[in-house]
């Protein structure tokens, strides 16, 4: 087991292994998203209060979930890199940030579009869920800006890792904000005591979308980590040998 992880953490081994794993994540992920989109848009019945506008949850909830998952991947990888000085961990953290930022933007945008017909407003500045999610977007931007501002990769890894770890406190705040404070945002629907408060006809497409987004995130992350590994190892012998042997194939 430890030998497997030790081998996986080796940059050349990871670089060669990643493209073999990507299709096993991307294809099932796309199939889940295709099913979830079809069933969510055309099979699930309209909500008795929100009508067809509720169908926005099929993209909003997976995006919001991924925004937090990506941050946890980033923070945990950064911590592993900082504590055990594992090079691959810092590459994972650096690669998770732009994906997390995109999913956070998507969660905010789709939430805002849903809020217009349901709440009568695009945005509510006093809402704790909205503000904590917006803070997460700024944390992603801050993390990426900090990395970009430091030329030395080792120093950039350390400084950005500290920011990622400190910012992780925002993740439980986002999740529990609707329980701790008065919020326009509805309470937990899936992860709650007593099970999901949603009918099976609506639930299964949502679970398929969450699974599909997660698998696709995994595939996109592997691709990005691969590029990051290649960039960081650009002066290593194995990269030079690989490029000379490949003769122009990426």
């Amino acid at each position: 087991m430890w030998t497997f992880f030790h081998k996986l953490a080796s940059p050349p081994h990871f670089y060669r292994l990643a493209p073999q794993i990507v299709p096993w994540l991307a294809v099932p992920g796309l199939l889940c998203i295709a099913y979830g989109t079809y069933a969510g848009l055309f099979v699930a019945p309209p909500d008795y209060q929100q009508g067809d506008a509720f169908r926005i949850i099929y993209v909003h909830v997976p995006a919001a979930y991924l925004s937090m998952l990506a941050y946890m991947v980033m923070a945990i990888s950064a911590a592993i890199g900082l504590i055990w000085r594992m090079k691959l961990a810092h590459a994972v953290a650096a690669s998770a940030a732009p994906l997390g930022a995109w999913f956070t933007f998507l969660a905010l945008a789709t939430g805002s579009i849903w809020g217009r017909p349901m709440w009568g407003t695009w945005w509510e500045w006093g809402d704790p869920r909205l503000m904590s999610e917006l803070l997460m977007l700024f944390l992603y931007f801050g993390y990426m800006a900090l990395r970009a501002a430091i030329d030395d990769t080792v120093k950039a890894d350390k400084a950005s890792a500290v920011l990622a770890i400190v910012g992780a406190v925002n993740v439980p705040i986002i999740h529990f904000s609707v329980e701790w404070w008065s919020s326009l945002h509805q309470g937990p629907t899936l992860i709650r005591a007593g099970g999901p408060a949603i009918d099976a006809a609506m639930l299964y497409p949502l679970l398929a979308m969450i699974l599909g987004f997660s698998l696709l995130f995994g595939a996109l992350l592997l691709r990005r980590v691969r590029s990051e590994v290649l960039y960081r190892e650009r002066r290593k012998r194995w990269v030079r040998d690989m490029i000379l042997a490949a003769g122009g194939r990426a």
């Binding site: 506008a53 933007f105 000379l244």
Partner: protein, 53 residues
């Protein structure tokens, strides 16, 4: 047409799904283009080194 109208919420629902599709395509495109760019930069450097040796 009724399915497209989404009970008058069509513009909101379809905008969200289109935006999601766009973001996923951008994420995929960015990952691919970054890989190509990094590979090409290194390839140019490696070739230059080889020719210099």
């Amino acid at each position: 047409m009724e399915a497209l109208a989404m009970g008058d919420y069509g513009p909101y629902v379809w905008t969200c799904f289109a935006l999601t599709g766009l973001v996923l395509v951008i994420c995929d495109w960015r990952a691919r283009s970054r890989q190509r760019q990094v590979y090409r930069d290194i390839e140019v450097r490696v070739r230059a080194l080889e020719e210099g040796e």
